[in-house]
């Protein structure tokens, strides 16, 4: 993926965002609200003061992880729709470890994080394994895993880790097990921000490095683009598919940690975390690249963080944020339309004599679009 193509994809992403915001505005109008006011409150709700910025970053953190999870799997040709289940299991493992051991923070926290990554990795292993060995469609498999995770949490938490007040939530973890740290929380005036954000940043850098500079990344992308050619070259496709889903699952698992022992301090049952699915939107918008995911997640963080404020000030239902996000994905998926339009403009320019814009010539004369001959 060289520079020219990334540039193209970012522009398309921006257009998709614009269209999504437009759709949101229309929806607000149709239901009798003032879109301009709505957007002002939406964005200021996410950015107005240091505390809100902290919340935005904290909200964005799980999205960075799940976005990375989807993007990484996508690079290797797989759809990871199992982010929600991987988050849940990751969060479960983190919570369980956090509630079971009473070690000091420098020891407990890394173990908690590791547990989350391993849990998520395990949950990603299953669809990966079934896909590699049996060619079972990873989407259906991941959806099953999501529900298995859901019900597992549903019974395990109240069964063994029940909180003192409600049937539906777990005990609170101690400060030693939490990703929140005092100085950070103080710095951001008591927001939900936690170490998860910096962990996410680190993972972004690591993933980007793996994909672009290492032989592992080379193999994974090769298998994703063309499994057959990779096998002919001696690359073990099965191993790479499995490894890819394991890494993707681990990322989502870390997302679970950042949410359940970072943002929150206990787990609620009966909810499939939406960040799992939003991860797909983040990845799409971020052109499936690690830094793109980072930026897209922050944008979504702003939206999610601000929707409560907007609702309080204008009575616009908070689901507007989800609608905007969903519309953005739709336009990202149909970005072909946007690109066709841009290609048409480019072609028109070229015909007017400008030769400095690249033209996709595709194959040469001996393999015309019509096939051989």
């Amino acid at each position: 993926m060289k520079r020219k193509e990334l540039g193209n994809e970012y522009t398309t992403a921006l257009i998709a965002v614009g269209l999504g915001l437009l759709a949101g505005a229309l929806l607000m109008l149709v239901t009798g609200n003032n879109p301009i006011l709505g957007f002002i409150y939406l964005f200021s709700g996410g950015l107005m003061n240091i505390e809100r910025i902290g919340n935005t970053l904290a909200t964005a953190t799980p999205l960075i992880f799940t976005g990375l999870s989807v993007a990484f799997a996508f690079k290797t040709g797989l759809f990871n729709i199992g982010g929600a289940g991987q988050m849940l299991i990751g969060g479960l493992c983190a919570t369980v470890v956090g509630l079971t051991f009473a070690w000091p923070k420098p020891l407990l926290l890394p173990v908690v994080i590791l547990a989350a990554a391993l849990g998520g990795a395990l949950w990603g292993l299953v669809p990966g394994l079934l896909k590699a060995k049996f060619n079972v469609h990873e989407v259906v498999c991941a959806i099953m895993m999501n529900w298995i995770a859901y019900w597992s949490v549903y019974y395990i938490i109240p069964g063994y880790f029940k909180g003192p007040y409600l049937e539906t939530e777990s005990r609170r973890i101690s400060a030693a097990a939490s990703l929140k740290v005092e100085w950070l929380t103080k710095l951001f005036n008591g927001s939900y921000i936690n170490l998860g954000f910096f962990l996410a940043l680190a993972v972004v850098i690591i993933i980007a490095y793996i994909l672009d500079r290492t032989t592992l990344g080379y193999e994974l992308k090769a298998v994703g683009f063309n499994r057959y050619a990779s096998e002919y070259a001696g690359i073990k496709a099965e191993r790479n598919i499995i490894l890819s889903m394991v890494i993707a699952g681990a990322c989502a698992g870390l997302g679970g940690a950042s949410f359940y022992v970072g943002y929150a301090s206990n787990m609620q049952i009966g909810v499939l975390p939406s960040q799992g699915f939003d991860g797909m939107a983040v990845s799409l918008l971020g052109a499936n690249s690690p830094w793109g995911v980072f930026l897209a997640a922050i944008f979504f963080g702003i939206l999610h963080s601000g929707k409560g404020f907007m609702n309080a000030m204008t009575h616009v239902p908070p689901e507007i944020a989800d609608t905007i996000i969903a519309t953005i994905i739709y336009f990202s998926a149909t970005s072909v339309l946007i690109e066709k339009y841009r290609a048409r403009i480019r072609k028109r320019r070229l015909e007017k004599g400008r030769t400095d814009l690249p033209l996709d010539t595709g194959a040469g004369l001996d393999e015309t679009v019509g096939g051989e001959g």
Binding site: L130, N135, I143, A333, V369
Partner: protein, 316 residues
Amino acid sequence: MWWSIIEQIFPYAIAYTVPLLITALGGLYSERSGVVNIGLEGLMVIGFFTSALTISQLESILPGTAIWLGLLLAAIAGALFSLLHAFASVTLNANQVISGTAINMMAGAVTVYLARHITGSGNILIVNGLIRRNIPYLVKIPVLGRLFFTQTYATTWLVLAILLISWFLLYKTPFGLRLRACGEHPQAADAAGVNVYRMRYLAVLISGACAGLGGAIILVTYAGEFNGTVAGIGFLAMAALIFGQWKPLGILGATFFFGLASTIANVSQAIPTLAKIPGILLKNFPYIVTLLVLVFFSKSTQAPRASGEPYDKGKR
């Protein structure tokens, strides 16, 4: 004792099966034409919402008819919303999985948004659902009568009729032959003069209508209230499709299996023998079995060969 348990849960099992069945049937049309429709979940929600809205608004004015109107409008709404997926997948050759996921997210968001706008809480309540009836003569048949013809919903029979019609359509008519050709080898269909694009559009619309109907049936049979989600039934329908090997009768079996398993899990608390089995196992049972079945069937899969691949006329 066992028998009375089975008799008791059967109607519930069937009630749970039917929306699953009709949605999976819709998915069948779509995939047989070559388009993977992951958006079934969202399309069900659209139907769920539309029927709740219609019925809650009309039931005081037109009792009885309001329900059927609700079902009809739900199907139409589902079909219209599915146009988005059809447009993306067929005309633009976009990635079908992503487009379907977008549909799910949009449906979930827009319906709750509108519901909140209308009722403030995001839920829409209806007062009267469908009533359950015994079928006059058939209920007297020993064994089968008690199981299948007691306390049934009218919609169950509607859906079974649609199933039979679908079987006929798919295997006995030119339409069915051409539809299946589009899903196996669109180039062959194209060269034979079949309009692949139009076929696929039609199939996706049908799947939208069926899923919308499915969501509506949930409302009028066992939910009674719109709450923004169909709890994964749309996805389960996809699994049933694979489980049933893309055949109408296979889907009937697969969905009934899910219906029965889920019902057993749900009522287990009330039945002493079943209550002993840990809830976690009962609830996860359908999903784990599905995974096993997917693995088992993976070698001999009868998936339509061209399913999921965008059809591009230019490519040879």
